[in-house]
Assembly symmetry: C2
Homo-oligomer: 106 residues x 2
DNA sequence: ACAAGGTACTTTGTAATGCAAGGTACTATG
DNA sequence: CATAGTACCTTGCATTACAAAGTACCTTGT
């Protein structure tokens, strides 16, 4: 059940992290799982969707500590989407908070 | 896409409204759609799930202004779940906000 | 009486997506 | 060489918001 809450926000989380700097997939998994429980099975398909979308792009970097890393970088389109989704998130979460508190609005 | 955000929170919204007093389905649709766009096709199946769950219960009341209304009332189990989900929502939304703002945590 | 519109409920099917589970392959360490 | 850690990817399932369509009742205007 809890997993349902993540829907729609995970994409924003990824865009937000990439907005601050390129990351590879495994790194994103680690960073995000500090904040909420997720696994690779969630992130890799999401990254693929975002790449198909042209929201992000990728490039390979060799590593001496293991297999090569696929770094992701946010595109201009991605930046636009990130701004939009951030707006949406804030207004949505405020609406929920308002409803939960039962301010006159409802 | 926006619809994805609602996942997991709609149930909490319904429980929260019923926590404050019994409502019939159509009334819930109207109250919630003040805050976010939803339709009957979303609420009625949800109410059915919650009833199967024993989270809520229902009773029929005749109406002079149209067809009889099916009022829903929250059960003790429902109250417990509402408290839990409310907690979850607050901690989840704060975690997202923290990630979006890029506080040291990530 | 009858059409139109609002109230109220229900069901069916579809799309989106988080996640478990399984797989590949490389490097370093014991 | 076995194990563990890093890093990637794919398949299939479960959940759930929602469009669409249908039923049935009451009120109001003509």
């Amino acid at each position: 059940m809890k997993s349902q809450l993540k829907r729609g926000t995970l994409e924003l989380c990824v865009l937000s992290l990439l907005w601050r700097g390129d990351c590879y997939g495994y790194e994103l998994v680690n960073k995000i799982s500090d904040v909420m429980q997720i696994t690779e099975g969630t992130i890799y398909p999401l990254l693929k969707r975002l790449k198909d979308n042209r929201t992000i792009d990728s490039y390979i970097v060799e590593s001496q500590e293991g297999p090569p890393r696929k770094y992701y970088t946010i595109t201009d389109l991605g930046r636009t989407l990130k701004e939009e989704q951030e707006e949406e998130w804030y207004s949505f979460s405020e609406a929920i908070n308002k409803l939960l508190k039962g301010d006159g609005t409802v």
